[in-house]
Amino acid sequence: MFKTATKIGITSLLRRRTRSALLILMIAVSLWGLLFIEGIYDGMTEQMIANAIRSDSGHISIFADGYRLNPDLSRWIENTIELDEFLNERQQIKSTVARLKQDGLVATAHYSRGIAILGIDLEREANHSHLEGYLRHGELNFGERQRGAIIGFKLAKKLKVAIGNKIILSAQNSAGEMASTALKVKGIIKTHNMAFDENAVFIAAAKARELLSMPTGISQIAISIANEGEIASLQQQLQEEFPNLTIKRWDELYPALQQSRVLMAGFKQVINIIIFSIAALGIFGVMLVSVLERMREFGIMLAIGTKFSQIGIIILVEASILGCAGFGLGALAGFSTLYYFKIYGLDLSVFSSALDEFGLDAITYAIIRPDYFFTALAAIILASVFSIIIPLRILKKTKPVDAINAI
């Protein structure tokens, strides 16, 4: 039966070539556009999130109790040995970094600004957040005597400093006194995390301890793990083990980014619904006309004993062929496009200064998720099935004799 139905279906689709081609093209083009939007927009959202995770929070950040509300030197994580042991034991943890953080002032001969001073272990930081990928000028090196500093590109622009220029850092030390040190700019980075690009100065951890008179203690430990699915459980384990520390997931630290993700998911759903409803309308029109035109043909088939359900199958097969051809073509085009942009990226550097505002790189790498295709396939099959319901009902109401006599 299916073989016959397919044969009849293909023949009749070929008989109305323009129409079939147009419909297939419509499905393909809409799917292509949809996949493009989904892949690129997801790529952008995930990039913003990845930048925040890489440059700052990791998947999980650990702070001393109360530090988040009052980030001062009296609220640092004091005993890190136990914590280090615990973290070292966990297989799922990819990397961890410890940072010292204190608000301060950066000044040049002509200009000054409030910033956050971040004392880091450059090697661990490089491994954790792939700092080299963020480096724009200079090198990732604090120099032998640890008198170097790495700053964000926006801050560099505001301070009008370049590699090799001197800056002066001032901050309050643990004794409550102002302490200052002169440093040389060794590297300029662009993390696309505004908090860092505009407001952070990275210095060697040892230098920070010296400046702040803090021989021990850490303000933040950022953890990045291999499998995002395990974030919540690790957070729970940590919290149970260290009840007097604050353990935060990245989405708790960057609620706006989490909102972006939710917003984007909703947005994609709406676009999906709009596009597939319109596409369904297209399939419906074609199927309806194709049934109406062939009333006679179907009437004869009914008259010679074909079952109504068999005619239903013929029509369904026709609709499915159209739907699947459209899907195949669109999925292929969409996949190739996204694959290209996944490898080479979509270069929007024309807008790069504007993209900075959004925390985006100039080049967006597309994301390809299998569920784009599954959703689309399901939607197209659904649309095809729905599109033949009304034509079939009209056909059912018509008696074979009337159908044959109808011109």
Binding site: L22, G33, D103, G282, S353, A354, F358, G359
Partner: protein, 406 residues
């Protein structure tokens, strides 16, 4: 005659008429409303960003914008002031002196911006006054009273009446420090700003910072904010080559560009929806036109020229497109108008907005008749264009072929 035939056909072939009108109407309404929404939200964001503090027009010394150091100050504020007061297109203006300092209190210190302002004038120039959260706003005669951001107060753990200390540089690069008493707190909603800015009256500022008759910039409030660009150009000519005037779209070029790119992505998304819509319109036109191919063949046989057939079919498309575009324009326009008067409030997404420098969650749409007409024209053109292929295709048939077509 041709018009009559076209109209009759539209009534006779209802399926195509309904689908085309419905789709085009909804799409037009969608475009009109989306444009109003995007423009509205961008205007709100920019207006907010501009009016909270930076102002519509800034006058600085020539090199200050590129290299904002104390070497490039306005060293003769009175002369500039005099010149500005002669301009008819300026509503008000005021001088500011911004400097970056370290604030400390309660063993806490925080880097921030201390600015000397002319308190009375500033009321018309920015939203500092209207953003008063608690305490009092500044007076020109105030001495060491400070008006500081609420987040900055939180970071320093101080409140109204408490004292803070600042350390910084005077205009002559000398060391400057003083104790300030907090007179009022403000909350603009822009976190960054609220967490770093503090203001004192300029006369006192000038004394402690050795900045008498100096300013980093002047803020100018035009009488007609929509003509800021022209005013900036005009001032640039008249004020002298040692000064520079910049309008908000130069000062906030990045934000403006960010809005453009946001619109760009909005339009890309809409474009993809439109493509699908126009394919559907094309398909329905094709179905109808080919459903009538016998009739078209007969028309040709009895002497109607291909051009006349083309005219009939095109007229049909135009009528449909016109009806839908008008309906869609009215519908979308009505929504745009309604939501301009009753802004949409997106509570719960404040964090998201703050990220883009938007301090409010109520966003009015922008009801702009010319933009709506432009969108309608675009949709009309697209809608008619999408029917051209079927029309040309059916016209290529010879009369006999058409009459014989199954």
């Amino acid at each position: 005659m041709l018009i009559k035939l076209a109209l009759r056909n539209l009534i006779a072939y209802k399926k195509r008429t309904i689908v085309t009108v419905l789709l085009t109407t909804i799409t037009t309404a969608l475009l009109v409303f989306s444009t109003a929404w995007m423009d509205g939200s961008h205007q709100t964001m920019i207006k907010n960003a501009v009016e909270i503090y930076p102002g519509y027009l800034q006058i600085t010394a020539d090199k200050f914008r590129d290299s904002p150091s104390f070497d490039h100050l306005i060293f003769d504020a009175d002369t500039v002031s005099q010149q500005l007061s002669q301009n008819q297109d300026i509503a008000t203006f005021g001088a500011r002196f911004e400097s970056f300092v370290l604030f400390s209190a309660n063993e806490k210190s925080v880097g921030g911006m201390l600015t000397g302002i002319e308190p009375e004038k500033e009321q018309q120039l920015s939203r500092l006054y209207s953003s008063l959260h608690s305490g009092d706003y500044l007076k020109t005669t105030d001495t060491n009273s400070a008006y500081i951001g609420i987040e900055l107060a939180r970071r320093l753990k101080v409140d109204i009446g408490d004292e803070i200390v600042f350390i910084g540089n005077g205009a002559d690069y000398s060391f400057a420090a003083d104790t300030l008493k907090i007179k009022g707190l403000f909350q603009t909603g822009l976190y960054e700003f609220d967490a770093s800015a503090a203001f004192i009256a300029k006369p006192y500022f000038d004394v402690i910072m050795a900045a008498d008759n100096y300013a980093t910039h002047f803020i100018v409030q035009p009488k007609h904010p929509e003509q800021t660009v022209e005013l900036a150009a005009q001032l640039g000519e008249t004020i002298g080559s040692q000064y520079q005037s910049a309008s908000w779209n130069q000062i906030m070029a990045e934000l403006v560009k960010a809005m453009e790119i946001d619109s760009l992505f909005g339009y890309i998304t809409l474009a993809i929806i439109f493509i699908v819509v126009f394919f559907v319109i094309m398909i329905y036109t094709l179905l109808t036109v080919f459903g009538r191919i016998r009739e078209i063949g007969v028309l040709r046989a009895i002497g109607t020229t291909p051009r006349q057939i083309f005219t009939i079919l095109l007229l049909e498309s135009c009528v449909l497109a016109l009806i839908s575009v008008i309906a869609g324009g009215l519908l979308g326009g009505a929504f745009a108008y309604y939501f301009e008067l009753h802004p949409i409030t997106l509570s719960g997404f404040e964090d998201q907005f703050k990220q883009y420098g938007l301090a409010v969650s109520a966003i009015p749409t922008a009801f702009e008749p010319w933009t709506i007409l432009r969108d309608m024209a675009v949709m009309f053109t697209l809608s008619v264009l999408s029917t051209i292929y079927p029309i040309i295709k059916v016209n290529r048939y010879k009369p006999v072929e058409a009459m014989r077509h199954v």
